[in-house]
Amino acid sequence: MTDAALARGPVVERRRGEGWTAAALITPASIFVAFCLLAPIAILFRFSLNEFVPSKKLMVEALTVANYVKFFTDPYYTTILATTVRIAVLVTAVCLVLGFPLAYVVARTQSRFKHLLIISIVLPLFVGNAVRAAGWMTVFGNKGFFNATLMGLGVIDQPLEIMFTEKAVVIGIIAVNLPFMVLSLQSVIEGIDRSVEEAAFSLGAPPATMFRRVLWPLALPGVLAGTILTFVLAMNAYATPFLLGGPLFKMMAPLVYNQFTQQSNWPFGGAIAFILMTVTLGLTLMANVIIQRRAAR
């Protein structure tokens, strides 16, 4: 074989009828997504263009961007959006920093107990968000486990204000999201040949340089998958900010819920939901492009 032929790689042979088999395989999932995801979103979007008239029948058919204008002109709402983005970015960054070493160890361990390690990482996901948040409440409360221990040991005199603050929410969401980050990274790191790291070492790269030049670029697909998952989950967190943040702390998902159920304001709720979705998608795509462009250099 010539070099040129090798460079083109293996030739993919296609048999007749393969296209139909593939179509048959993806049809059920496609139908499900179309009816259960795209259709509701479309309807929601239509709702968000309606008018809300509390004195009449709540939702009045219309074609107006008033709900979107209301959101972006009222600092109350834009602050909530800013808080949500800030917390999601912070949570994602912390998950990446905490998750990478953990994922690396899990991916590289030769231990017989590797499967136990993986289960222990996934274990938190067995507990629902609401149940877990309730658990955090007992830990973070002024007389909770955390403060009681520190005060008992004489480390502090006054209880630390954690419960019903941003701190509690951030810690809570990190705890929920970390497994997603670790699993995304671990599966990719596992596919990186260990000897590639050793090759870098033998060529004179100290560990930090090896990480920057070899491990990080090769782990990038996992980093992207992990940050996207974590970021999207954090942007849309509901139970954790609701239960740990208390009545004064606001994030987007509880706000949407509140508009639908408490205020019965479907048009405005729909608009907020749509803004949340768009911002999440936009920021995710932007981060994606930036990271990939950087890696290409």
């Binding site: 074989m1 070099d3 090798l6 460079a7 790689g9 040949d193 000897s195 590639v196 050793e198 090759a199 870098a200 070492f201 033998s202 060529l203 004179g204 790269a205 100290p206 340089t209 090896m210 030049r213 070899v214 670029p217 090769l218 890696a295």
Partner: protein, 353 residues
């Protein structure tokens, strides 16, 4: 390039010795091959030289300075891995440049040395490709160029040819060997393939169960194996189990009385190289020049092309492999055919138990 000394190198995992008391002196420019079955400790030894494994005991000296506890990135050892371990996200030129960038050479020097290294492995013009766009043999050569570009004190090869197909392997063997001679590289290679070891090495080290069994030239190992393991591992031997009755007299468990050279009285094995045994059809039994001449029956024949292996049953307990050249008008054995085999006493090596 530099000389490499291993002094009583050991690696222990709990009670298990992966490598035990390995001492070797590798001269400047020498090509040393560590040969042994998998799990014999050869790779562990190489990885201790590279710095990936910290020895439990002993020392590694490279060019006279002790590098035993030095991390791999401070050792200046060029390594070629079994899987090549090319950086898949970097081009061929970037792969080769990696070690030079770590040494903070000026850009122009790096470019020149990358070109040199690629020319050395006949890959000029391939610098812009990604590793996955190359064939296995080309990837192997990039790995070699990358290791050579840093001008290492010692070149370490970890089963570098095992992922190549048989035909290519023979070519690359010669290529690596010529390059090594031309550049005067102190080289340590690990392999389980004895043919590879025999064709490439200046000197061979046979290892088993973590220990060195014999060090020597190809001829030393083949003609004068130190023990039964080496006799069986380097080249091929048929072992006849039995006992030495008196110096020069060996009796197999099957009851055959054989003449042998030396040996202490007691349980022993008699090792015979298949090609040192003569064979003839039974009718023609003139083997008068040989110390041993025995009748037997052909039990199995394997045709290897240039050579033919004939398994001959001598007694219910004793079976011998005889290898003959496949020549025109030569002996063509049939299974079940009665034959006569013979060999001089000196051809049989006695290993006491």
């Amino acid at each position: 390039m530099a000389r490499l000394d291993l002094e009583k190198l050991s690696k222990r995992y709990g009670d298990f010795f992966a490598v035990r008391d390995v001492s070797l002196q590798i001269a400047d420019g020498e090509f040393l091959v560590l040969l042994g079955p998998s799990g014999c400790g050869k790779t562990t030894t190489l990885r201790m030289v590279a710095g990936f494994i910290e020895p439990s005991d002993g020392a590694v000296r490279l060019g006279g300075s002790d590098v035993t506890v030095l991390p791999p990135w401070k050792r200046n050892a060029g390594m070629v891995f079994q899987s090549y371990a090319l950086f898949p996200h970097l081009s061929v030129a970037q792969n080769v440049a990696f070690g030079l960038e770590m040494r903070k050479l000026p850009r122009a020097d790096i470019e020149r040395r990358v070109e040199e290294a690629l020319a050395l492995v006949r890959l000029t013009g391939f610098g812009g490709r990604l590793p996955r766009q190359l064939s296995g043999g080309q990837q192997q050569r990039v790995a070699l160029a990358r290791a050579l570009a840093i001008r290492p004190d010692v070149l370490l090869l970890d089963e570098p040819l095992s992922n190549l197909d048989a035909k290519l392997r023979q070519e690359v063997r010669v290529e690596i060997r010529e390059l090594q001679r031309q550049l005067g590289l102190t080289t340590v290679m690990v392999t389980h393939d004895q043919e590879e070891a025999l064709t490439m090495a200046d000197r061979l080290v046979v290892m088993n169960e973590g220990a060195v069994r014999q060090v020597g030239s190809q001829r030393d190992l083949y003609e004068r194996p130190a023990d039964r393991f080496v006799a069986g591992f380097v080249g091929r031997s048929t072992f006849l189990d039995g006992a030495v009755e008196a110096p020069g007299r060996f009796r197999t468990d099957g009851g055959l009385a054989l003449a042998c050279a030396g040996g202490m009285p007691g349980r022993a094995a008699l090792a015979l190289r298949p090609e040192r045994v003569e064979i003839a059809p039974s009718a023609n039994t003139n083997m008068s020049g040989l110390d041993n001449s025995l009748p037997g029956t052909v039990e199995f024949v394997s045709y290897l092309g240039a050579l033919i292996d004939i398994h001959v049953r001598l007694s219910p307990q004793d079976r011998l492999v005889v290898q003959i050249a496949n020549r025109d008008g030569g002996f063509a054995p049939d299974v079940g055919q009665p034959v006569q085999v013979g060999w001089p006493a000196a051809a049989g090596l006695v290993f006491n138990e």
